[in-house]
């Protein structure tokens, strides 16, 4: 007891004693068995205790062989009592004497067999700690120090097993999307689980558990799991809790529980020496069972966190376990094909289900708890009834089943070594068969809310299919990028889309210009064509007029010609007639009539001759006029011909410009659309950037709040601890005072007795004792 006291406490106690008693402090200390010097030393070295210092060393270095399950050399270092019992070679530690302690000699390699076997010495500081611990008297823990439980008691217990749809849909609030780790490569998916009552999928990653909304196929939260890798994920039957069992291979394993509604980690259970491969929480949320390579199923109380019992019947690694939905039974299975059903509350064995010849990789209860499905590496899927443990159905698939789950409505989803995912009814009828993985399919989960089949493979790919038609939906990742990366990506995307949008806008502008120009060209061409056609019409009218004129001229010419011909014959005839007449006249002088006739003839002849001469004279003019008209006509017709060619060229040009204008218009329309899209993309990118900026801000805020919360909680705890310590100190002091008082009383009684005896002896005879003694006695009695 005493070495456990802190020096300060002793000083206080001493001071207190000084007040209440005149007995010197040293005496009290001696009575209490305290080394005076040590207790009074101001800075006593920190105490090395088994629980705080030594067990962690043993865990790291020794417990893989010397644990409760293995006990090499019949030695278990995993708890204080068994360590004190020693091993097959007797006690391994001697209190206060490390140099005589076998354990110490082995770890320092001063004695054979050097420990740990076949390995270099454990680090010097660890050896030093062990030495100090032994020399310090093998303290188990800080003993008399008041313990304030680090872990407040949990109460998640439900009044009854809860398998019904809860009133509030179990979905997490907004959570951090900052991954704990993002790795360059991916590895096999280690666990998947879907919430029974909400579109929520949990995916195990490296040191984290990811939450996906299966409806939106969107990452909605990341729960840190610094313990390692979760090998099993489970939602409680009412969907309100999420369990992750896992850890680090050959190092540590535990189960971590989160509250789905708050996204907060609520407690941890288990302290395995290897990872946890299988775990579940009972439907009334009072029990948690876990198991792993240590071959033992341990069942804990959720309320106290204490281990209730262990199942040691399995001969190989525990690979699967599940509580029945009604909370009564617990099925556990191992790597050797062993499969048992236990009464969860009483730890009694209920059934042994014999049949599997290899690792039972998956266990799942039908929702009515009457049928258990098991899938094994031996390639078989089996259904068992729970009356007598009879096998009611067995079929083979996958060449090794890796994972299996009963859906809420009694279908069975399986996956396995062949890379396929299959959905069955209970008569082994295949309802759906999908593949697409390049490697083993290792985990499945069925989302009852969205009727989706979800599976993960050996390479880390996670795919989602519709259950009805097996249509592939999308892919999820167990390795999302960090927010910073996402923001970077979004920013890059934004700048890219900005560039894109700009260039699209420019293209649009240019296209508009080009289109306008093309339209103008087209109009111009149209105009010139119109003009040409007008000209042609004019000219065509001219030709008609000219031709008319030509006709007239030709007619004139013709008429004149014919007149001339007539005249040419008539004029000599007239002349002759006139001459004849004259002659006759001469002859017949004075024939007046004749003379008159002769004169008329002469006149007529002269007139006719004149007419002829005029005709003769005007003939070239007429002829010229005629040919000139003819020339004009032909010239105009030629012009028209040329014009027609020009027109057809102009027509072609007009068509071409129309084409150009049309395509330019189309181009413009297209580029307008592109530009609009690019603009939309830009704003979307902008949204992304904002989104991730938001998320980062959120995470920062969250972290700050969490840190504050932790600090304040620690402060509270510290205060509580301080308070409790003070109370305990007072208690100890009180006890000591009582003891001292008792001792004092006893001493006084003793004195009184002696005094009485002296008195009696005095009464009988003369004082025989030395005067000094009597003096002393009398002094004391005063």
């Amino acid at each position: 007891m005493c070495p456990n006291c802190g020096s300060i406490r002793i000083l206080c106690f001493a001071a207190w004693l000084r007040v209440v008693s005149s007995i010197p402090v040293v005496v009290v200390c001696l009575q209490l068995g305290l080394p005076v010097g040590e207790t009074l030393a101001a800075d006593a070295p920190p105490q090395i205790t088994y629980d705080d210092h030594i067990l962690p060393i043993f865990r790291q270095k020794c417990l893989s062989c010397h644990n409760l399950d293995k006990k090499r050399g019949d030695l278990d270092l995993g708890n204080y009592t068994s360590l004190m019992q020693g091993g097959s070679s007797g006690e391994v530690v001697v209190p206060g004497d490390s140099d005589s302690s076998y354990l110490y000699l082995l770890v320092t390699h001063e004695s054979e067999p050097a420990m740990p076997l076949d390995s270099p010495k454990i680090p010097a500081e660890m050896i030093e700690k062990i030495g100090q611990w032994i020399d310090g008297g093998l303290l188990e823990n800080t003993g008399s120090t008041a313990q304030v439980s680090k872990k407040p008691k949990q109460s998640f217990a439900l009044a009854a097993p809860s398998n019904e749809r809860p009133e509030v849909v179990p979905m997490p609030p907004r959570l951090s999307l900052e991954p704990v780790s993002h790795t360059p490569g991916t590895t096999a998916v280690s666990a998947l689980a879907t919430n029974p009552w909400s579109p929520l999928l949990a995916v195990a990653g490296q040191r984290q558990v990811l939450l996906y909304d299966t409806q939106k196929s969107e990452l909605i939260g990341i729960l840190p799991f610094p313990e390692g890798v979760a090998e099993v994920l489970r939602f409680s039957r009412n969907g309100s809790l999420l369990l992750a069992g896992g850890g680090r291979g050959a190092t540590s394993g535990q189960v971590v529980v989160w509250d789905v509604h708050t996204g907060e980690r609520v407690f941890e259970i288990g302290d395995e020496l290897d990872t946890v491969l299988a775990a579940d929480i009972s439907s009334d949320q009072t029990l948690i069972a876990l198991g792993g390579p240590q071959r033992v199923v341990r069942v804990f109380s959720v309320e106290s966190g204490e281990k209730l019992y262990e199942i040691r019947k399995h001969t190989d690694w525990i690979c699967a376990l599940e509580f029945s939905p009604n909370g009564v039974l617990l099925a556990t299975a191992d790597r050797n094909g062993g499969l048992f059903v236990w009464e969860g509350w009483t730890e009694r064995e209920y059934l042994t289900l014999k049949g599997h010849s290899a690792t039972v990789a998956g266990l799942s209860w039908r929702s009515d708890s009457n049928v258990l499905a098991s899938g094994s590496e031996d390639g078989s899927i089996r259904l068992w009834e729970m009356e007598n443990g009879g096998q009611i159905k067995k079929w083979d698939s996958h060449g090794g089943v890796a994972s299996l789950q009963f859906t809420r409505d009694g279908r069975i989803l399986t996956c396995g070594r062949d890379g396929h995912v299959r959905l069955w009814d209970q008569d082994a009828k295949q309802l759906s068969d999908v593949s697409g993985f390049g490697d083993l399919a290792v985990e499945v989960a069925f989302c009852n809310e969205t009727d989706q089949m979800i599976a993960g493979d050996w390479t880390g790919a996670i795919r989602v299919w519709k259950a009805g038609d097996g249509q592939a939906m999308n892919e999820l990742s167990a390795n999302p990028p960090t927010l910073a990366e996402r923001l970077d990506n979004a920013k890059q995307e934004l700048s890219a889309s900005e560039v894109e949008a700009q260039s699209a806008a420019e293209t649009y502008r240019l296209a508009t210009l080009a289109a306008n120009e093309a339209t103008a060209n087209h109009l111009k061409a149209q105009e010139s064509l119109r003009q040409l056609q007008q000209q042609k019409q004019t000219w065509q009218a001219d030709v008609v007029t000219l031709k008319n004129k030509l006709d007239v001229a030709a007619n004139d010419y013709e008429v004149a010609e014919k007149r001339a011909e007539v005249l040419i014959q008539a004029v000599p005839a007239l002349a002759e007639a006139a001459t004849q007449a004259e002659t006759a006249a001469k002859a017949l002088l004075d024939d007046a009539e004749l003379l008159e006739a002769t004169t008329r003839l002469r006149q007529s002849h002269r007139l006719r001759a004149e007419e002829l001469a005029a005709l003769e004279q005007s003939k070239p003019d007429r002829s010229q006029a005629l040919s000139s008209f003819r020339d004009q006509v032909s010239a105009t017709e030629q012009k028209i011909g040329a014009l027609t060619t020009t027109i057809s060229a102009a027509e072609q040009q007009q068509e071409a410009t129309a084409q150009v204008a049309k395509s330019a218009g189309e181009k413009m329309a297209a580029s307008q659309q592109t530009s609009e899209l690019a603009g939309a993309a830009r704003s979307k990118s902008q949204q992304h950037v904002t989104h991730w900026e938001n998320e980062i801000a959120f995470v920062t805020q969250l972290n700050r709040l969490v840190a504050e919360h932790v600090t304040s909680r620690e402060t509270v705890l510290e205060r509580e601890r301080g308070h409790a310590e003070a109370v305990a100190k007072v208690e100890v002091a009180k006890q000591a005072a009582t003891a001292a008082q008792a001792a004092l009383t006893e001493a006084e009684e003793e004195l009184a007795r002696i005094a009485r005896e002296i008195a009696i002896s005095k009464g009988i005879q003369e004082p025989a004792g030395s005067p000094g003694q009597a003096e002393q006695v009398s002094q004391v009695s005063e």
Partner: protein, 811 residues
């Protein structure tokens, strides 16, 4: 001759100080070896380490790698770092190694130096498991693995190992997201508790190989993977000078694609005699006590060895010339010289007479023979004796018995008494008629017909399991225990599962049917039936063990096998039989045990064994001639008394060893000296125990003294180790006492009027092939004088002699 000029002064001084072995002057350098003898580098990652060994005139060798100077004719092709060459660019050149005035040149070729080969699971990763002990039988190589993880023993199943490592428990053993979290890596490097401890450091080459493989995505090999075709160990032999002397080992593997690799860091090292030389896993041999050791390397399925001799530091040894009787002695003496051992002196004529009689014929010489032999002045009388013994029928009986053990002649559920007798008679006829061994083996293995009509067919009734027949044939006729290879590649020999099943398929077509007589079966060639490989299930084509794959179209597979087995093409047949014969006369084979021939159990005198095998073949497999060679050799005639140099030798036959007389012979000589008769099943009264046909018949005496039950072909069936029940049986049991009484030899001699002294002398000669010494005579005289009843006293003396170790042992 250049010694004075070139040896460094320091070397001379140190040699003088320590006092060289032969003389005061330092031994001259005889040769400078550079290993390997050529360098070929074929990728950017390739490298080749080298070592230089100096061999001196006195036979001592020294590792001078660090003292020698290394110069590369073309420095552009490779760089030298320590004793390792790393390629720089393509080209050829010469490495010139000089030390103490000697110079050795080796060719260096570098090509494809720009190519970096992708990492391979089989070529790169698997050797790490072997080297660091992951896949040994006591660790993950155990049949059920260790702590939940199994690797195939010494990597006989790479595909299975790849599967188990990567996909048996997905996500646990390898983690491709966080490579350094991979459990197999963390366990091996001791970062997490590991029952097998820390096997290698994170900075080691092994860890780097594993990480490189993980970085590549833990790929499986695609397509053809180069196979190791040969493994070379250097130096080929070494003679270490005293405790603490070191010699590095260099290992190179040749691959089926024509490349080679320096696998010194990846090979697993073993010494078969840690008392003489130890080797660490870095490949450094350290000399311990005087003796021989075989330093072995294992890489892939190959085991190779190098012969190391450790001599005391600065041993002074001068070989005393002794005459050699024949080639046996010549080869023996050669080995003795290497080991600096002087053989013991010749044994006395008395000793030789007793030894040869017991060994060759299983009898003791009679008093008359004794007198006659001792009196014979002929200098070749020992040879005459050997010839005489070889001509006796007892010699035949002795070897019939030995063969009956190897052929397991005994009644079983399958073999009736009659069939067993036919089998025995068949064997007896063969040996009695000097049928050559090869012919006998051919008749035996190719035997067809009824088990009554052809006795040899019973061989296939003894054992009806195809695989076991193959194992037995290999063990008896080739001296090899191939059983290991049934489930995994042989850990200490070259035999792979392929070899095993291909060999077994010679016996897959043995037909058996019932004959008219219910006790008789008919063995015939069924011409159908195959053996499948258990991994992958492919059908195995018959292939001779260590030999070719014959064309067996239309042939009886067994006949083909027998033809090959008993032919000089089979390198093991003649030497194995010679070794069996040798072991009979020395109590120990040149390869010991005689049926444990493997690379890791080399012959103590390879040349001798080969010579014996050669002779045996030359003699047309007439082993009588071989026996003669052995028995007339000086080696066989050496005394048991050791000298200073051979006191510790128990392996090299440098002196005769004490051997307890085997059960049958012991009973026979006890019966002979006591003049009594035994009755065994199926034999007339007075028959010798050696003549018992049936392995299943025995007496308490024979069983106690370790007669072979012939239940297996193992040479360990015959037990000659003394034990308490043997001693008690001789002292208190009924055999000795009763036989003395029944034979009443003493009584008869007394009736003949012989004196006690004469009778004692006869008893001594009868039993021990010598007269009593004067001291013995005097002491016996005292005892005899004290006893009134002379018969009782003399019988006590008789009893005493029979209980003497001198009687029970051949020496």
């Amino acid at each position: 001759m250049h010694k004075a000029l070139f040896l460094p002064a320091i070397y001379l001084v140190s040699s003088w100080l320590s006092g060289a072995a032969w003389a005061t002057e330092a031994p001259a350098l005889r040769a400078l070896h550079v290993y390997p003898r050529d360098v070929q580098m074929t990728s950017s990652r390739d490298r080749q380490s080298l070592l230089v060994q100096a061999e001196y005139e006195n036979g001592i060798t020294r590792d001078v790698s660090t003292e020698a100077t290394w110069v590369l004719s073309d420095p552009a092709i490779a760089r030298i770092e320590g004793n390792v060459l790393y390629p720089l660019s393509d080209g050829t050149g010469e490495l010139v190694v000089a030390y103490a005035g000697h110079e050795t040149r080796i060719p260096v070729v570098a090509r494809d130096t720009a190519t970096s080969l992708p990492i391979s699971f089989r070529v790169d990763v698997m050797p790490v498991f072997m080297k660091t002990g992951c896949n040994t039988g006591s660790c993950h190589g155990a049949a059920r693995g260790k702590d939940g993880f199994r690797l195939s023993l010494f990597g006989f199943d790479p595909a299975g190992d790849y599967f188990r490592l990567t996909r048996e428990i997905s996500g646990r053993r390898i983690n491709l997201a966080e490579l350094h979290e991979s459990l197999f890596y963390k366990k091996g490097t001791g970062q997490v508790p590991h029952t097998g401890g820390k096997r290698f450091d994170t900075e080691s080459e092994y860890a780097k190989i594993l990480v490189r493989w993980l970085e590549a995505g833990a790929p499986d090999d695609q397509g053809e993977v180069p196979q190791v075709t040969a493994v070379e160990i250097y130096p080929e032999h070494a003679v270490l000078d005293g405790l603490g002397a070191n010699q590095a080992i260099n290992v190179r593997a040749k691959y089926s694609d024509g490349t080679d690799r320096d696998v010194t860091t990846l090979a697993y090292f073993m010494s078969n005699n840690d008392n003489s030389a130890t080797i660490d896993q870095a490949g450094l041999v350290t000399a311990q006590n005087r003796g021989e050791s075989f330093i072995m390397v294992r890489f892939g399925t190959h085991t190779e060895g190098s012969h190391f001799i450790t001599l005391p530091k600065d041993l002074k040894f001068q070989w005393q010339e002794v005459p050699a009787n024949n080639y046996v002695d010549e080869l023996m003496f050669k080995k003795f010289k290497k080991l600096c051992i002087q053989p013991s002196e010749l044994c006395t004529d008395e000793r030789f007479l007793r030894r040869a009689s017991l060994d060759i014929a299983g009898v003791l010489p009679t008093v008359e023979q004794y007198e006659e032999f001792l009196a014979d002045p002929d200098s070749h009388k020992r040879e005459k004796l050997v010839d005489e013994l070889l001509s006796r029928k007892e010699f035949v009986e002795m070897w019939v018995m030995k063969w009956a053990e190897l052929l397991q002649i005994r009644t079983t559920r399958e073999i009736s008494y009659k069939a067993m007798l036919r089998y025995y008679n068949w064997l007896q006829e063969r040996i009695a008629n000097d049928v050559p061994m090869d012919q006998m083996v051919r008749e035996l293995l190719g035997a067809s017909g009824g088990t009554f009509t052809n006795g040899a067919t019973n061989y296939y009734q003894n054992e009806t399991n195809t695989l076991k027949i193959a194992e037995n044939v290999a063990q008896v006729f080739m001296g090899m225990r191939v059983q290991c290879a049934q489930c995994h590649n042989h850990p200490f020999d070259r035999w792979t599962m392929n070899d095993y099943y291909a060999f077994a398929s010679f016996f897959s077509q043995i037909g058996r049917k019932q004959a008219e007589d219910p006790r008789e079966r008919i063995i015939f060639n069924s011409e159908s039936g195959e053996v499948n490989h258990p991994i992958g299930g492919r059908q195995m084509k018959p292939k001779f063990l260590g030999g070719a794959e014959p064309d067996l179209q239309g042939k009886d597979r067994r006949v083909a096998l027998a033809d090959w087995l008993a032919s000089p093409e089979n390198p093991y047949f003649a030497t194995n039989l010679a070794n069996i014969v040798w072991a009979h006369f020395f109590g120990r084979g040149i390869i010991h045990e005689v049926d444990d021939v493997r690379i890791s159990n080399p012959p103590v005198n390879k040349e001798l064994l080969e010579a014996l095998g050669r002779k045996f073949t030359e003699y047309q497999y007439d082993f009588k001639k071989l026996v003669r060679d052995i028995c007339v050799s000086r080696t066989y005639q050496l005394g048991t008394q050791t000298n200073e140099t051979n006191a510790n030798d128990i392996r090299n036959f440098s002196h005769a060893s004490l051997r307890r007389v085997r059960a049958e012979v012991l009973l026979d000589i006890v019966s002979y000296v006591t003049d009594t008769k035994n009755k065994f099943q199926g034999l007339p009264a007075g028959a010798r125990a050696v003549q018992i046909a049936n392995g299943n018949t025995s007496t308490y005496f024979l069983t106690t003294f370790g007669r072979a039950e012939r239940g297996s072909v193992c040479s360990c069936e015959v037990k000659i180790e003394p034990n308490l029940s043997q001693a008690l049986h001789l002292l208190n049991g009924d055999t000795v006492h009763q036989k003395i009484q029944t034979g009443n030899l003493v009584g008869k001699r007394l009736e003949e009027g012989k004196s006690s002294e004469e009778i004692v002398e006869e008893l001594y000669i009868r039993c021990l092939t010598r007269r009593p010494t004067d001291k013995e005579k005097q002491e016996l005289q005292v005892i005899l004088a004290a006893e009134e009843e002379q018969k009782l006293a003399l019988e006590d003396v008789f009893w005493g002699v029979l209980n003497a170790r001198e009687f029970l042992f051949n020496h």
